[in-house]
């Protein structure tokens, strides 16, 4: 067990080193921040002074070593654009992203699981076929199209919901939440649907196929033969077994949602980390870009490690490898 853990840790560190290197190298090519930072009509001397102040005049290798040194001490530098420490900047945007992701996940589970069950129980009904077809459209449409369509219908035409932003926030001191005000809740609806759509479809299809599998297994047939009530068989005996893979996938998907809420956040001007990232690309705000990549890399490494370790608990066969 200990050996497995240490191997996993070592691998995780390797991945993080690779991500750091890629993050650094990539930003040599997104453009020169100095051009975006100087005023119109800046002299050559002004530009050089700024370049020096930012440490961009040093040899690339020195810059990289400095960068790694910074990362190790947990200091990811200062945003060129907002001139705040990048870590606190990311943390200040984290609540917005997390709230959106949580609502989207709950939505995906609450709608996806019942739909999947229904489709499995009556695979040939009109309802099932309709649901399958609609969700196929949902899964193949790009997020920004879905988002804009929702805005067009519910914000512009019907005027029921706000088209962008988070609404009024309640400051809890350590967390700014949109859950505690009406406009905050209303603002959550459209972006969370947009973000949930893909995951919802995935969960629905997963539940459906798992359910169909489970329903044809022997113990379900015996349960029917015994004359147990249908609700008990579907709800307690079948669904519980069908949900095992759903739990794994949902866990992995939460990481995906946090990391790639970028498009949804941009369309809805949702002030989370994804919007911060898009704004940073256009500037280019290199420290924010690098920190975001590292954060996402770290997130996935952690999630994968946790999943690996959980597996070994669930399935003893994996421990010997």
């Amino acid at each position: 067990m200990l050996r497995l853990l240490s191997v996993r840790l070592f691998q995780a560190i390797l991945v993080m080193v690779a991500v750091t290197a890629i993050a650094f190298v990539m930003f040599r090519f997104v453009g020169d921040p100095v051009a975006a930072m100087v005023r119109e009509g800046a002299t050559q001397a002004e530009k050089e002074a700024l370049r020096m102040a930012l440490g961009l005049d040093k040899p690339i290798l020195t810059q990289f070593v400095d960068f790694v040194g910074q990362v190790l001490t947990g200091d990811l530098g200062t945003s060129f654009r907002y001139q705040q420490p990048v870590v606190s900047l990311l943390m200040s945007r984290l609540p917005a992203t997390l709230e959106l992701v949580i609502v989207a996940t709950v939505l995906a589970l609450a709608v996806g699981i019942p739909l999947g069950v229904l489709c499995a129980l009556k695979p040939n009904s009109v309802f099932s076929r309709l649901t399958q077809a609609t969700t196929l459209v949902g899964i193949s449409m790009p997020t920004f199209v879905t988002g804009l369509l929702l805005i067009l219908v519910f914000a512009v035409n019907l005027r029921w919901l706000p088209s962008s932003g988070r609404g009024d926030l309640v400051d809890l001191g350590f967390w700014q939440t949109g859950f505690l005000s009406l406009s905050g809740l209303k603002s959550l609806i459209l972006p969370s649907i947009t973000l949930a759509l893909f995951q919802l479809t995935l969960i629905m299809r997963l539940v459906r196929s798992e359910m169909i599998d489970v329903l044809s297994s022997d113990y379900i047939r015996f349960a029917f033969a015994r004359g147990l009530p249908r609700a008990h068989i579907y709800g307690r005996l079948a669904l519980r077994n069908a949900l095992m893979p759903v739990v794994t996938v949902t866990g992995l998907q939460i990481g995906q949602l946090i990391a790639f809420a970028i498009v949804t956040e941009t369309v809805f001007q949702w002030p989370g980390m994804g919007l911060l990232f898009t704004n940073a690309v256009g500037y280019p705000d290199v420290p924010v870009l690098a920190a975001y990549l590292l954060f996402v890399g770290f997130l996935f490494v952690m999630i994968n490690m946790a999943v690996d370790i959980l597996y070994t608990f669930i399935d003893p066969r994996l421990r010997t490898r």
Binding site: E40, A155, S163, R166
Partner: protein
């Protein structure tokens, strides 16, 4: 708008109780689903957010425009964009390097501090601090001295005619406020200094900053104690950054905001046709031009002498561009065809010079033949695709226009983040450039940055070897000429040479387009500033 109290962190059951109370309070005051527009509130959206509320922490002109809602400078631009007294009531030049300013009396900051000479001294010292990101915006000033409570002297490096233009972009902060919040030194990206002033603001302006949520909104409330007589009828201004063009337009169409700045060109007709909405479009200060390569060889044709060193070739390129078609088709008739590097509102502009070479392919061909290039030549043409209005389409159009006189164009189009660094490094032959002469709004900025030979202090945006001794001399004497009439003549002379020698090919002043509700009446300025203190909103 509901205002929720701020809760300190409480633990355990007390915290849960507080949540519940808040939730109940929120439910008790359920607003109707789509709240009606508040009378006398101007809600507007723009594509970007302010970078910081610290006036000395950035050089972004949009940020400066929003800060102006909260802050006053010593002198400001009026409705005609002419300079007029603001926090300074009068000034005199005691000696060429010492200007004396009389300050307005009876002015108070939003948090109640009285305005006096100490505030100006502290602000100017913060402005010229080596750590201030925008210190070059007041580079002529080396020091500041308090004479009495309402008089200050600015000490200059040398005679400098544009001091007032520069001061119009310097916002006055309160000294006691900066002391209280440890913000006497400016915030700075390069050194990582963040101050209280980055996300709080205490000015003397027409509106107070009530709340600021980065990337979400800034809310301003009217300053009832403003020293000036208000020309607006607003009680509140709400500014929301919305980056996505489509979402920003949707916010206007759904009535969530009253105005969007700027409106994407493809949506102009649709919005103009919508009941209750209007689009206001005027040419801005930003002049779009083609800059040329004056080095020995072109990047597109190494080893061959650069044809553009011949004035006839440059004029031929100009004659071959159909400016009117670009104006009508690509700019939808909303741009202003230009032949100078500055817009009419900028000092140094002259109608007599601002006449483009006519579109004449035969003349262009004849000029090329005279210069020894009857079959044309090969050159690079570079554009950004995300910086100016229709920049990519304009470049495509020009490359096909030049093909008609035999000039082979090696076209390259790329994002501004890689385009401008390449431009600065002098890697481009012919390239598109926009110049707004902001914030000074004076032709001198063009002489200094674009036209003068690049020597480290002058010619900061002249990377391609343009050098004309007559212009260099004019730039240096205009820099210290205090007689305004003489100085303007020098600027005009330099622009005349630029035109006669075809050193640049100006294209047009691009339009600024705002879309707004019929209920909003706000003047549009060519410097693209939104000035809510001139806004009227009908109920």
């Amino acid at each position: 708008m509901q205002n929720f109290p701020t809760y300190a962190y409480k633990s355990g059951r007390a915290r849960v109780k507080t949540y519940m109370k808040t939730l109940l309070a929120g439910l008790a005051v359920l607003a109707p689903l789509s709240a009606p527009a508040f009378a006398e509130t101007l809600r507007w959206a723009a594509s970007g957010d302010v970078i910081s509320y610290d006036p000395n922490a950035q050089v972004d002109s949009f940020t400066q425009s929003v800060q102006h809602i909260v802050f006053d400078p010593l002198v400001r631009r009026n409705k005609e964009l002419k300079l007029e007294p603001a926090l300074a009531t009068s000034w005199e030049i005691i000696e060429p390097t010492r200007w004396r300013f009389k300050l307005r009396e009876g002015v108070t900051f939003h948090e109640g501090q009285p305005f006096n000479a100490d505030d100006v001294v502290a602000t100017i010292e913060r402005q010229i601090d080596p750590g201030a990101r925008n210190r070059e915006n007041l580079s002529a000033v080396t020091g500041v001295e308090k004479v009495d409570d309402h008089t200050v002297d600015l000490i200059l490096r040398g005679p400098y005619p544009l001091l007032l233009n520069d001061l119009a972009a310097i916002y006055i902060l309160s000294k006691p406020w900066m002391e209280e919040h440890d913000a006497l030194k400016p915030g700075n990206t390069a050194t990582g200094v963040v101050t209280y002033a980055s996300n709080h603001a205490n000015g003397t302006g027409a509106f107070k900053l009530k709340s600021y949520e980065p990337d979400s909104r800034s809310v301003f409330e009217v300053n009832k104690d403003w020293w000036d007589k208000p020309e607006h009828n607003l009680t509140e201004v709400e500014f929301r950054p919305i980056a996505s063009d489509a979402t920003r337009v949707a916010a206007l169409l759904s009535g969530e905001v009253d105005m969007v700045v700027p409106v994407p060109l493809q949506d102009v007709d649709r919005i103009a046709a919508t009941d209750g909405l209007k689009v206001v479009e005027n040419p801005s200060l930003r002049t779009i031009m083609l800059a040329l390569n004056f080095k020995k060889e072109l990047h597109a044709a190494p080893g061959v002498a650069n044809p553009m060193l011949d004035v006839k070739v440059r004029q031929a390129l100009w004659h071959a561009i159909d400016l009117n078609t670009i104006q009508k088709r690509l700019m939808r008739g909303k741009s202003r065809v230009a032949a100078m590097l500055v817009a009419p509102a900028v000092t140094g502009h002259d109608e007599a010079i601002d006449v483009p070479l006519d579109y004449d392919i035969d003349k262009a061909k004849a000029l090329l033949a005279e210069a020894g290039y009857p079959d044309g030549f090969k050159t690079g043409l570079s554009c950004s695709n995300d910086r100016y209005i229709a920049d990519e389409q304009i470049c495509l159009a020009i490359s096909s226009m030049w093909a008609k006189i035999g000039v082979q164009v090696d076209l390259s189009v790329e994002s501004k983040t890689t385009y401008f660094p390449r431009m600065d490094n002098g890697e481009l032959d012919v390239y598109m450039l926009g110049w707004a002469s902001l914030p000074p709004m004076d032709g001198f900025s063009v002489l200094q940055a674009l036209l003068a030979t690049n020597d480290g202090t002058y010619g900061g945006s002249n990377p391609n070897g343009l050098s004309d001794p007559r212009i260099d001399a004019l730039a240096r004497s205009a820099a210290i000429e205090l007689d305004e009439a003489k100085r303007v003549d020098m600027l005009k002379e330099a622009f005349r040479i630029t035109h006669d020698e075809a050193l640049f090919i100006p294209l047009h002043q691009q339009p600024v387009a705002w879309a707004m509700s019929d209920k909003v009446d706000i003047p549009q300025f060519p410097d693209e500033y939104v000035r809510p203190w001139f806004a009227q909103v009908k109920k």
